[in-house]
């Protein structure tokens, strides 16, 4: 049993590493605090028959330990913040679209994910876009390519969660959010909706199907041939 589901994205490992880093800090703080909490219950039990010391905690030699602990907590917090900062920027800011990248649209609707492929011209938002609106159709993406998606919702708030890529993003109606992922291993990965969206929220699942570039080309070719009658997404 592993703690996390298998990571298949380029940035997922950074999030997993961040977890282990925070866990080290949290575990140290936990065991020290537990000792400070439980040890005096034995050491200073009233059963020992000793009268308590009158310590108000206003003298420096008494409160300095709390100051040290708080400074240590603050420092470890800022270490975490420093370490995570680049990862946050990396995930949340979309790289410039280059020729090898894939640009797709993902539209959340009660209760399925609709995928928009850019059509033969490779540009989203043009007349040759192909909209796939089916419970049985997964989002096909090539591996080792930046998949940049425009996330939208047509009705209520949904959230796009791709656990294997460590990516989550809410889809708010009235907004378009750009995010990206890059999957390094072929496979079929769950997309789930993580924002409660109604009676079939539990069934709002689809897949990302990560394929080799050849398989992906084959898929898009057959998709665009089948859609010779031009469809428009806008």
């Amino acid at each position: 049993m592993t703690i996390f589901p298998e990571n298949v994205s380029t940035y997922g490992q950074e999030i997993d590493n961040l977890f282990w880093l925070i866990l080290v800090f949290a575990a140290i703080a936990f065991f020290i605090s537990l000792f400070v909490l439980l040890y005096p219950l034995i050491k200073y039990s009233s059963k020992n028959g000793k009268r308590a010391e009158y310590i108000t905690g206003e003298k420096r030699k008494h409160y300095k330990w709390i100051t040290y602990a708080l400074v240590a907590l603050l420092l470890s917090d800022f270490v975490i913040l420093y370490v995570e900062h680049d990862t946050w920027g990396n995930i949340e800011s979309v790289p410039a679209i280059s020729k090898n990248d894939v640009h797709v649209g993902i539209i959340a609707r009660q209760w399925n994910w609709i995928f928009v492929y850019p059509g033969p011209d490779g540009v989203l938002g043009t007349r040759d876009d192909v909209v796939i609106d089916s419970m049985n159709s997964s989002l096909h993406v090539p591996i080792n390519a930046n998949v940049i998606f425009e996330l939208r919702s047509t009705d209520v708030i949904h959230s796009f969660f791709l656990a294997n890529a460590r990516l989550k993003q809410d889809a708010l109606p009235g907004r378009t959010v750009m995010r990206w992922f890059n999957i390094t291993k072929p496979g079929k990965y769950d997309i789930s909706c993580t924002q409660i969206c109604g009676i079939l929220h539990s069934k709002m699942r689809n897949y990302v199907l990560a394929e080799t570039p050849e398989q992906y080309k084959h898929f898009t070719d057959s998709l665009y041939n089948a859609n010779k009658v031009v469809t428009s997404s806008k």
Binding site: L37, L41, R51, E53, Y54, Y63, K168, V177, C197
Partner: protein
């Protein structure tokens, strides 16, 4: 004063009473009843999670709509109809007048009105289960447009839209907030104006400080939410479009208004409980509270910071990524005052003469569990890890590790501590120990393993995980079943408490005036305190925590004792 309050009828003595202790009892009993309702809802949906598709004993089959509603109302009830009335209103009403040496609240009638508005709000909430369509099932955060579809769905029938689960829930919350606001004003005015002679600010016990700081945080943050809630109600019944982009609104507005209140609300719930610990830990350590003034300054600091952290609930909501860093730093900073307060309690233990009586047991259990809750907050306060953990069971386990000790351990600590004072009877300590250990063990059994479910990617508010390959596999389903069995055990353990409460109240041993040998004023009154609390009124000569003064013979010196020798 005494004569005025005798010869009252049953109604004016127990129902429409203006006595702060009776109103405190009313709030407490109401909170306990609502905890029963919230617990029952939790039992039903937890059973469903462990054994999906099976008929649930004492309920039947649970459909997805009812599941969503139960999850939503469980959260609502536990925060607004259990945590708030029990921690803020019941404790505030019981303790503020008597601990500052006064006869009653500043506005006794407003106080009574506050409770009855609260009672109506609870009825409105329960009623929402029985309207067509059932109770609202969109999560306790009520994110629109899902929560703003009443007008569209019922268009154009105003009354159908008004008497829908969504509208009734909004109304119930708004009423509840009004009740709490009236209570909060009362707390502040009472504390400022009705203190006994000599009760200077730096002699006020920490719990009174904390309840007042909580009331201030509540007042600062509640305005935007009430305004926002009415906008949401208008969206539902009048067809406005504040939150619906199809009608020109923006759902993000609600997220900000909700969390601008919703996060400070966490501290509104936390501070009274921390106040309970601040009273119990010194008494049972026989030592002054460590750094009394610093503890109060830290709470004031946290009150200020509490309105600067709300958007950490929205890291993945589509806010500007640069904004997240600001709120991450705010979240880090607010952990410091609370860590400081807990460390002060732990420091109070060192060098003491510790009596492990029941209230102390609950207090130590509280600190131990909250440690887990607080430290798992480190993971979620990190905006980057939150991308993965947001809306998973990691979050669910985290906030139960903070709110359960806060609401229940805090309440039980207070209950076992002040029960002899307010009833004049002793509780059965042996049953109390059983109650503590079973609650402690079962609580960990419910939520500890769920951290792992969350890390495995299990997302919240799903009634059936069979569609998700990551979750519907072992050991996560077994973890769900362990959690459910423990949850049932946890709820059954509370019957020990109820039995103890009722039998001790009726036939318990008579309690002495000051059984724990405490210094604060309530223990210098009779048990139970008469209407008017004191006769004659006390004069305060010292701080609240004069334990084991070197010059005193006894190891405690009550606040109304002028000279030690």
């Amino acid at each position: 004063m005494e004569n005025l309050h005798q010869n009252k009828s049953f109604w004016s003595k127990y129902v429409f009473s203006t006595d702060h202790k009776t109103i405190g009892t009313q709030y407490m009993i109401m909170g306990m009843i609502m905890a029963g309702v919230g617990g029952y809802l939790a039992y039903v949906f937890r059973y469903n999670l462990a054994f999906p598709g099976k008929s649930i004993p004492f309920y039947g089959m649970l459909g997805p709509q009812a599941y969503n509603a139960f999850v939503t109302i469980h959260g609502m009830i536990m925060v607004f109809w259990v945590g708030m009335p029990v921690l803020l209103s019941a404790l505030g009403n019981y303790l503020i007048p008597i601990m500052i040496g006064s006869d009653d609240m500043a506005f006794p009638t407003v106080n009574m009105l506050s409770f009855w508005i609260f009672a109506v709000s609870a009825l409105v909430l329960i009623a929402s289960f029985f309207v067509p369509g059932g109770a609202f099932g969109g999560g306790w955060t009520m994110y629109p447009p899902f929560s703003a579809q009443g007008y569209v769905n019922h268009n154009p029938n105003f009354f159908t839209a008004l008497f829908s689960g969504t509208s009734l829930l909004i109304l119930a919350v708004a009423l509840e907030l009004v009740a709490m606001l009236m209570g909060g004003i009362n707390f502040l005015v009472t504390t400022i104006n009705k203190r006994a002679k000599g009760m200077t600010p730096w002699r006020i016990p920490v719990i009174i400080w904390f309840i007042n700081i909580a009331a201030v945080i509540f007042m600062f943050s509640v305005g935007p939410l009430v305004a926002g809630a009415f906008m949401l109600l208008f969206d539902n019944v009048l067809g406005t479009g504040f939150y619906d982009p199809h009608r020109g609104g923006d759902p993000m507005l609600w997220e900000h208004l909700f969390w601008f209140f919703g996060h400070p609300e966490v501290y509104v719930l936390l501070l009274p409980s921390l106040g309970v610990l601040a009273e119990i830990v010194p008494v049972f350590s026989r030592k002054p509270l460590f750094a009394y003034k610093t503890v109060i300054y830290l709470a004031l600091l946290s009150a200020f910071l509490s309105v600067l952290v709300w958007a950490h609930h929205q890291f993945v909501a589509g806010i500007d990524p640069r904004m997240a860093t600001f709120f991450s730093i705010g979240t880090i900073l607010i952990s410091i005052p609370f860590a400081g307060i807990f460390l002060s309690y732990m420091a109070t233990l060192w060098g003491g003469s510790i009596r492990m009586k029941l209230p102390m047991l609950w207090a130590i259990g509280f600190i131990g569990l909250f440690l887990v809750g607080g430290l798992t907050g480190l993971f979620l306060g990190s905006n980057t890890f939150d991308i993965y953990a947001h809306d998973t069971y990691f979050v669910v386990a985290h906030f139960h590790y903070t709110l359960f000790p806060d609401i229940f351990f805090g309440f039980f600590a207070a209950f076992y501590y002040w029960f002899p004072k307010f009833t004049g009877k002793e509780l059965n300590a042996k049953l109390g120990k059983w109650h503590f250990w079973l609650t402690f063990i079962f609580f960990n059994g419910v939520f500890f393993l769920l951290f792992f479910n969350g890390l495995a990617g299990q997302h919240r508010r799903i009634n059936d995980y069979s569609s998700f390959s990551l979750i519907s596999r072992e050991p996560y389903q077994t973890f769900e079943q362990i959690a459910t069995v423990c949850a049932i055990g946890l709820m059954l353990s509370q019957f020990i408490f109820l039995y103890n409460f009722i039998t001790s109240f009726r036939k318990g041993k008579k309690a002495v005036k000051n059984p724990w040998e405490s210094t604060t004023l309530e223990w210098q009154s009779d048990s139970p305190p008469p209407h008017g609390n004191f006769n004659p009124y006390p004069e305060v000569h010292r701080g609240a925590y004069d334990y084991s003064l070197p010059e005193a013979k006894e190891d405690f010196t009550p606040q109304n004792v002028p000279n030690v020798n």
